[in-house]
């Protein structure tokens, strides 16, 4: 489908998000420290490490197993733990925040539940899920890995209902501020009231009751982190979005053609006009937290790191996130047009094009 979408008004909460700093990918390649896969390994080519591959067709597949025996509610699920903060070679470890995450190219049913937990400060080590207790009242413990802080928990059906997700779209994007919890007797976590709750480890848990024992759960890519959020300024009204059909086609006699369909990939073009490269903008989130940014500088940081070679998740309008978004690379480095007015007002025009097929 192709077309030009016009957006009239953007509130501060709805501004452009670009998730390019993927905290869950960690500081080292082998940062997936444990998963439910170890006992149900379906093969080297579908190993859990594929969750970090930007080739979204290269997937993780795992059968669900009964897990978290020590919890109040042991689950039949798949799970994987990311060490977002551990590093090698004498680099200090860190904690990270996950305000947005995405599961791309999944095969989950509407009834599937997705949960993400955060664990421990940067010094947390020797993580073992045997001691993990989830869905229990929070208390201070000597071993932070024993208590997971629930960051997000929702069903696919909720996204279908809340965000107009097509039930045949196989990508899920969660953002801080989304409806989080199922309607059951769960306690209120402190995290609900704060932002930038940073953790060393993150655990993704997926339960899909519609899958039988032999039907695996599949996820092509999992990314999570703190996205770039444009403040006050935003992209221009005209957004160009297209789903490109890749195919080989021949024309037959009889005025018909036949084709071999290969892939459907998104492209997204955002235009930025009059960004003030000198002005720091502030906005307050729903939680009361305040953020400041020079938007142009933030975009430069993004394009300077990702260039046209690394993929990023761009969600222009978070309330209508599935209307137009893309996980792709920039087609080229942006051309910036400067309009110098005075020292405090240097305006920039630029265009960013994403293409999932690159």
């Amino acid at each position: 489908m192709t077309g030009t979408v016009k957006q009239e008004n953007y509130s501060a909460n709805q501004n452009l998000r670009i998730l390019w700093e993927k905290a869950t990918d960690g500081l080292k390649w082998q940062n997936i420290i444990k998963s439910s896969d170890s006992s149900t390994n379906l093969g080297v080519d579908v190993a859990v490490i594929n969750l970090k591959s930007d080739i979204v067709e290269q997937v993780w597949r795992a059968n669900q197993i009964l897990s978290f025996a020590n919890s109040l509610t042991p689950k039949t699920c798949v799970w994987v733990v990311f060490d977002a903060g551990g590093a090698d070679n004498g680099i200090d470890s860190r904690t990270c925040a996950v305000e947005m995450f995405a599961l791309l190219n999944h095969n989950l049913s509407k009834e599937a539940t997705i949960s993400v937990y955060g664990y421990g400060p940067e010094s947390t080590s020797a993580f073992t899920t045997e001691n993990v207790i989830i869905d229990a009242p929070y208390t201070e413990r000597d071993t932070p890995q024993q208590q997971g802080y629930l960051i997000a928990k929702f069903t696919v059906q909720q996204h279908i209902d809340s965000f107009n997700l097509s039930e045949y779209d196989n990508n899920i994007i969660w953002s801080y501020g989304d409806p989080n919890f199922l309607a059951d007797a769960l306690p209120t976590y402190p995290y609900q009231d704060t932002i930038n709750k940073s953790f060393r480890y993150f655990m993704l848990v997926i339960e899909d009751p519609k899958k039988t024992d032999q039907q695996y759960i599949e996820v092509g890519r999992f990314i999570g982190g703190q996205p770039l959020i444009m403040i006050e300024e935003n992209f221009s009204a005209n957004v160009e979005y297209q789903e490109v059909s890749f195919k080989d086609e021949v024309q037959l006699n009889g005025f018909t053609s036949i084709a071999n369909s290969r892939a459907l990939k998104k492209t997204l073009k955002l235009t930025f006009e009059h960004l003030n490269s000198r002005k720091t903008n502030n906005f307050t989130l729903d939680t009361g937290d305040t953020r400041s940014a020079i938007n142009h500088k933030a975009l430069r940081k993004f394009s300077g790191y990702c260039r046209d070679t690394i993929k990023s998740l761009v969600v222009p309008q978070i309330n209508n996130r599935y209307l137009f978004y893309a996980y792709g690379k920039l087609t080229e480095m942006p051309v910036e047009g400067f309009d110098y007015v005075d020292e405090e007002s240097i305006y920039v025009d630029m265009t960013l094009n994403w293409d999932e097929a690159r």
Partner: protein
């Protein structure tokens, strides 16, 4: 992809819970037709190097897109060649096996570990390459369309971002000279120099038939001067005028039409002179088979153009470490100059001497020579196994080989097509230049059977026996105009394969290294008259047939076929015909501009699969002018040049 509303991963509107069904039907004509009706497919091509689809020993898996098959990941990033297979030309005996050059994208260095300097370096030479066509993830939904091996000659070429692998079809191993043993000094230290290096022949079938020599009542003799063995011989056998022995001979020139040769290799005191005549069998282990020669009834020593009568062991001997068969000659038969009585003279080899003899070789079933040992298909198969190192189970399409070897066994067929206990053939292979596959093709062409590589990549058989072709109404494959890619339809007259009279040369013998007999000339007078009286004549060689009636039958059938005039049609079809196989017949309808073909029977002679999965290029032989069987009528019946039952004329005096 939707096909008949069965499985479709994208549009599961019947299943709101999004429960995916992960199995796809096997690729088949029916499935392709259903997909064609929605004008779209998602066929995928995969390439594996070093092993098969999901085998653990496979080194590289690439495809035309990122995908999984059987939980194995295939990286996108390969340029695939067209995959083509052809039938050999009608009257030629050469076959071209396909080649495939595959370019693999390595811009990210993914495959560096296999290239020079890499931790898992492999030269790739002789590694297998498989190309598969299918869809989805089920292994069973993939069909191999090419099996090859990477050549040693420029097989791997590397560039900055890609590397190229050049391969040839596995069947091209048959495109080689016969791997038969040679006479060597190591095995036969006393063999004469001019016999060293000669191929030890492979002999099958009945070589006593047609082994004719001169009228036995004529008793010519020849004088020879032996050496010191003279003392033991009766002086009555000496021609005193010349001090030479008179040796009994038979006439050879112009009379030989059978028999095989033996090459001198050794002399054993008290036994005689050994002339090796053939290999003793083939293979080892489960592939081993011993050939069983009959007793030798006739044997002569050929010296120049003279054929000397000799005494020999009737039982074939075994010689050499590998167990070759040999005839043992002890003495020559002498003739007394006065009385005409016969005597003997110890045989002594002279340079150029050859033994010539008649013998039958059985290699099937019971110990004695039987029906199956003259069976053309059995002989061809045995030759392929012995010289081509083929495995029956893995390399031959057993269904078609069994069908033809038993043709005429259980149901009546015309004599020209009766393979079982009907047409008799024999094989002698001893020329070092003989090519295995070309010789097999030319062997079976003599009974109008074609050898080709089928869709399952095995060697299969199809015939030009007209009774094997169904009536048009019963042919299931239809090609419609709407399935043909626009502007791809190109008809062309087959000018090469047209003749309306012919004779047949037959009965090869290695004694004179040629076919010695000939049929009369046969004519299709109807065809000659309809082209203004122009007779176009051909001489067809049937070296391995030795019975005149069999040759007459084949010559007349060939004339019937090739005096009709054919068109060869090149066209491109959509993917509904991706599984078309060589030799298949189809009914074609095409009416555009100056071409009007309505339900014409055609045979597939060449298949080229497009690597992008959109379709296939075919070359079709159109029988638009030839009535294949009684129930098919042609629009211009009375004007046609020939038909399956065309009456031919035998010219008995030239």
């Amino acid at each position: 992809m939707s096909y008949g509303g069965i499985y479709d991963k994208r549009y599961l509107y019947k299943d709101p819970s999004r429960y995916y069904i992960y199995s796809y039907p096997i690729i088949s004509d029916e499935m392709l037709k259903a997909a064609f009706s929605s004008t779209e497919n998602q066929l995928e091509l995969c390439v594996t190097i070093g092993g098969e689809l999901i085998a653990e020993n496979t080194i590289i898996r690439v495809a035309d897109r990122n995908k999984y098959v059987g939980f194995k990941f295939f990286h996108g990033g390969v340029d695939l060649p067209k995959i083509d297979r052809k039938m050999p030309d009608f009257l030629a005996s050469n076959i071209q096996f396909s080649e495939a050059d595959i370019k693999i994208n390595n811009v990210d260095g993914r495959f560096n570990k296999f290239l020079i300097g890499g931790a898992e370096y492999t030269s790739f030479i002789n590694s297998s390459i498989f190309v598969y066509l299918g869809f989805g993830e089920d292994v069973a939904a993939y069909k191999p369309i090419y099996k090859g091996f990477i050549t040693s000659d420029a097989g791997v070429q590397r560039e900055l971002k890609t590397f190229n692998l050049k391969s040839r079809d596995v069947m091209s191993t048959l495109d080689t000279t016969i791997p038969l043993p040679r006479i060597s000094i190591e095995e036969f230290p006393n063999a004469p120099v001019d016999n060293i290096g000669k191929v030890i022949p492979l002999v099958l079938g009945d070589w006593t038939a047609g082994f004719k020599y001169g009228d036995p009542t004529i008793d010519p003799t020849v004088n020879i001067k032996p050496s010191s063995q003279l003392q033991s011989v009766s002086v009555k056998n000496i021609d005193e005028s010349t001090t030479e022995f008179k040796i009994k001979t038979v006439e050879m020139n112009g009379k030989i039409s059978g028999g095989i040769v033996g090459y001198y290799v050794a002399f054993i005191n008290g036994v005689g002179s050994y002339f090796v005549i053939s290999v003793g069998g083939r293979g080892s282990g489960p592939q081993a088979l011993t050939y069983r020669p009959s007793a030798i009834e006739q044997c002569y020593i050929k010296r120049g153009s003279t054929m000397m009568v000799c005494n020999f062991q009737a039982q074939v001997a075994v010689t050499g470490a590998a167990g070759y068969y040999a005839v043992v000659v002890s003495t020559l038969v002498t003739v007394d100059v006065e009385s005409g009585n016969e005597g003997t003279l110890a045989y002594e080899y002279q340079s150029g001497d050859e033994a010539i003899l008649g013998v039958k070789y059985s290699f099937t079933g019971a110990n004695e020579f039987g029906i199956e040992d003259s069976n053309p298909v059995n002989i061809a198969e045995e030759f392929l196994i012995a010289c081509g190192r083929l495995s029956i189970q893995d390399d031959l399409d057993t269904a078609s080989w069994d069908f033809y070897r038993n043709k005429g066994r259980y149901t009546a067929v015309p004599p020209q097509s009766k393979i079982y206990d009907g047409i008799k053939m024999r094989l002698w292979v001893g020329d070092e230049k003989t090519n295995v596959i070309n010789h097999t093709i030319s062997f079976l062409k003599q009974v109008r059977i074609e050898v080709f590589q089928n869709n399952d990549l095995n060697l299969a058989l199809r015939s030009f026996h007209f009774e094997d072709y169904p009536p048009r109404a019963e042919i299931p494959i239809k090609i419609f105009q709407q399935e043909i890619v626009e502007t791809s339809f190109k008809p062309e007259l087959d000018k090469q394969n047209f003749f309306n009279s012919a004779d047949g040369k037959y009965s090869f013998t290695p004694i004179i290294k040629g076919s010695t007999l000939s049929t009369n000339l046969w004519r299709n007078t109807n065809s000659i008259e309809k082209i203004g009286g122009k007779e176009i004549s051909k001489s067809i060689d049937f070296p391995d047939l030795y019975i005149k009636a069999d040759v007459d039958n084949q010559v007349t059938e060939y004339i019937r076929l090739f005096s009709a005039g054919f068109e060869v049609i090149s066209l491109q079809l959509g993917f509904s015909h991706l599984l078309r196989d060589l030799g298949e017949v189809a009914v074609l309808t095409f009416n555009v501009s100056g071409v009007s073909l309505n339900q014409i029977v055609c045979q597939v002679r060449s298949v080229v699969i497009e690597p992008n999965g959109t379709g296939v290029e075919l070359k079709l032989l159109s029988f638009g002018n030839f009535q294949l069987n009684a129930s098919d009528t042609l629009p211009n019946q009375v004007r046609n040049l020939s038909s399956y039952n065309q009456v031919l004329t035998e010219v008995t005096n030239v």
